[in-house]
Symmetry: C2
Subunit: 376 residues, 2 copies
């Protein structure tokens, strides 16, 4: 029944490797999806993104429906052709950005009405419209159900209400999407940090039936420890034979802890956003290239990398570019960070295959903590 075959490779504790096979290519899991917000992974060409080893990228329905509009993307041949990315694309439902960026006019059981943050124009997003935009107009490979998010902190009653509406919207998303061979629909678990709500959410998702299962409503300010506690129970509520996707996560250490707890897919703006602000992620934690200690450091960020941004440029040169606010600095650090995130996923796939994921997790956490650059 599921659209794309998901083949589990190795397992190690709760962690597992796998391949989600799509008509546009396989997605090796655990997988990190670079975010291509408005039809571009910010600052990078698709060739640069592909060179990091990314199997799939994420596109934002909210941004694309406002500009250039989903209808225009359709007339231009769909999102893959428009942005020249031939591998798989996952699109979010638009719900998260409607909450965080737009001016909400009204939320009813039927739909959410909002005003664009760009020009104040009025728009409407329902489960059915989200499916039309993602599946039919943008031509996404993996489509996300529309869900309702609550602003934190939320009362238990409000969290339960949003979870149940999300479950109903999930069923409507499935009905509108139907069953397709070449596109998959993922459901989204809600319920905040409450185990009983997460369980009810998972059960209602299973009743509807999805091709993959996302964990939503985390990484929204609850903190690392609270997130890890939810990840102690939430992934195992979701089917073991389908991919589990932790939305909007995150820092490398968050990703490692989630993989150790059975999560397969991730997305986050962190590598590109922090790259645009002069930060580079390394095995020893993040460093800020603005720091004067790099001014004459001739070493590259990662001499062992295959990616030019990581291997070929001295930290001294990157320091200069960041200090001088040069676009090339934003390009190279975004590129390096995406390469680092992909290298991290590859390392974890190797560690799981070799049965040493727990050792990897411990040593990675220790190195990230010890090396973190708090000097500036």
């Amino acid at each position: 029944m599921a659209a794309f075959p998901f083949t589990i490779g190795a397992t190690d504790g709760k962690a597992r490797t796998g391949v989600l096979a799509t008509p546009r290519g396989g997605i090796r899991t655990p997988a990190f999806m670079p975010v291509g917000t408005a039809g571009t992974v910010k600052a990078l060409t698709v060739e640069q993104v592909a060179a990091t080893g990314a199997d799939i990228i994420l596109g934002n329905t909210y941004h694309l429906m406002l500009r250039p509009t989903a209808e225009r993307v359709r007339r231009l041949g769909g999102l893959h052709r428009f942005m020249r990315w031939e591998r798989p694309i996952l699109t979010d439902s638009g719900g998260f950005q409607v909450m965080s960026l737009s001016k909400i006019s009204k939320v009813t059981e039927e739909a959410v009405t909002f005003q664009s943050h760009l020009d104040g124009s009025r728009h409407r997003l329902s489960p059915e419209r989200s499916m039309e935009i993602q599946a039919d107009l943008l031509g996404s490979d993996i489509v996300m159900q529309l869900d309702e998010l609550v602003a934190l902190p939320a009362t238990p009653e409000r969290a339960a209400e949003a979870m149940r509406r999300s479950a109903r919207w999930g069923a409507r998303s499935r009905a509108a999407f139907g069953m397709r061979d070449a596109q998959a629909l993922f459901g989204i678990q809600q319920g905040g940090t409450d185990e009983a709500l997460r369980r009810e959410s998972a059960e209602r998702m299973l009743e509807t039936g999805f091709d993959g299962y996302a964990i939503g409503g985390l990484a929204v300010g609850e903190g690392h420890q609270a997130m890890v506690e939810v990840l102690d129970f939430a992934p195992s509520m979701l089917p073991a034979d389908r991919p589990r996707y932790l939305m909007g996560v995150g820092k490398p250490i968050d990703i490692v802890e989630a993989v150790a707890r059975g999560v397969d897919m991730f997305d986050c703006v962190l590598p590109t956003r922090s790259g645009r602000h002069g930060q580079a992620w390394t095995w020893d934690g993040p460093i800020n290239l603005k720091n004067a200690r790099f001014a004459e450091d001739e070493a590259p960020l990662d001499p062992a990398s295959d990616v030019p941004a990581s291997r070929d440029y001295s930290k001294a040169y990157l320091h200069h570019l960041v200090k001088a606010n040069e676009i090339l600095g934003q390009v190279l650090l975004s590129w390096h960070n995406l390469a680092f995130f992909q290298a991290l996923m590859a390392e974890m796939r190797g560690a799981i295959s070799d049965g040493r994921m727990e050792a990897f997790r411990r040593s990675f956490a220790a190195r990230q903590r010890s090396g973190s650059d708090t000097s500036e």
Copy 2:
């Protein structure tokens, strides 16, 4: 005596092709030098710049002496190694940016003292210091003499005074630079739009003796027609057996008119600067990608180009990137524009070799005029 052999290939009227041979590679003339202001051709990797066919780039002494400082570039192995550009580099003397960007404190016969536009710090530039920075610290292949520029409009007396000081500073630049096998020193002709002053300037340059001869003080607001009139007489005052370099020029049509009048080398920020502002140069003139008529135009900027930015991306996608203010739009349009300028130089080299430079000049001028995008 001249540092680098300059071999004239074909001539056609006053126009000529040639190769300036340097230890870091040959420079095919007529040549356009992309400007790498602060150790980076803005927004582009050196691989992207090289892919356009550029044989040489220009570095700005003023910017580099302030940040990261010439001494630091020296400690990091020189400018080529610092920015990873292995082909030739020409550096300007710093004089132009001191005039246009800094707060001048004092100009004497000995040196100019100024305050940095970055932090107000005080600096001094003399012919000897400019030679030290360019030749010894940055490690430039082609070094420019320090000259004195005058703000326009200038009285004939002021123009003559600046020309004569430039001549004296040229002699001091030559004395400080000495004779080198692996680096060349170019003199700069001044004299504004006055033929007699230009002649006196050329004669004094010849007394000193340089490895190449630049035409300075044009493209500073005098207008296309006045510039072309100076180019009717100025290049032929300079030795025919050495490269002639028109500094800071320019628009494609300016470059074509100058090549037809015997100029061999050019530099300008125009392709990268206009690219960052959404403008693309084409055989039919400049177009602004923001224009709504490109919103659903699936054609690339130049399907015949070898450069991905010109060949692979639809105008519709570039329009979207520019409208959304995406960095990738700045990258791709900078890249395309540099590719167009290099293609223009290659076309002219072919036209001169084939004895059809005058026909090329006429048809190019007609197409640039007719196609210019004045609709927005």
